[in-house]
Symmetry: C2
Subunit: 112 residues, 2 copies
DNA sequence: TCACTATATTCATAACTCTGAATATAATGT
DNA sequence: ACATTATATTCAGAGTTATGAATATAGTGA
């Protein structure tokens, strides 16, 4: 595993991180504000390990910031510029944020 | 092979087309203006079949426009918005357009 | 310390994508 | 019609990525 210096390869790796429906859905959710893993788990209806795996891919690509609060880890977008890319990449199709049900994280419990 | 309607999957397919160094290099060249296959072949130093394959991927993703002129097919960017995405995705690294040598297409012959 | 909960990692296999070689098509001139 | 040139397509094997199951870690409270 060599260090990549070719700018086209670096850029390609960046897009690779974006080239996955579940990861794009996660990013769409995070654009609305930070969220913990359990939150994403409830929205995406996928098992926790799966969510964590996708978060790791996004994190390694440098797309996410994280904040710990007790047991919870809250993820958010590292760079708002990402919003420009996400908007520009799908001119005509709106990206609905899927509805939530049943998350026990502090935010959800407080907000009902 | 079903028709995809999920917006996240559509968007992911879009990024998949971008997630490849050779294709990004092609796009970087096309941002400077249309180019024929032989032109790209000379710049990328890859075999013609390879260039055509990558062009087909970009075309299927809806990124390219084409124009026929005799035996030559000139490709160009379908949507200038793509420039925004390409610029935003690599804030700090300049993308050099590789130097050319030896292309026999009408444009190159005319311009010397 | 122990039990509990939220999140992370590892691993094996399935699924997919890339690549190169060969070949096909399509436009042009003779 | 034939030859030539520019571009497109097909296909198989190599290589990469995704997925689910199992397990590990880390923070919290008793």
């Amino acid at each position: 595993m060599n260090i990549v210096t070719d700018p086209f390869t670096i850029q390609a790796n960046y897009f690779k991180a974006l080239a996955h429906p579940a990861r794009l859905q996660i990013l769409a959710i995070l654009r609305q504000g930070e969220a913990c893993v359990c939150h994403l788990e409830a929205i995406l209806q996928r098992r926790q390990a799966y969510i964590s795996q996708q978060l790791m891919v996004l994190k390694e690509a440098g797309l996410l910031a994280e904040r710990k609060e007790g047991l919870f880890v809250f993820y958010s977008l590292a760079d708002p510029r990402l919003g420009i890319i996400l908007d520009s990449s799908l001119p005509d199709v709106p990206l609905p944020a899927a509805p939530m049900n049943g998350c026990a994280c502090p935010t959800c419990v407080r907000d009902g």
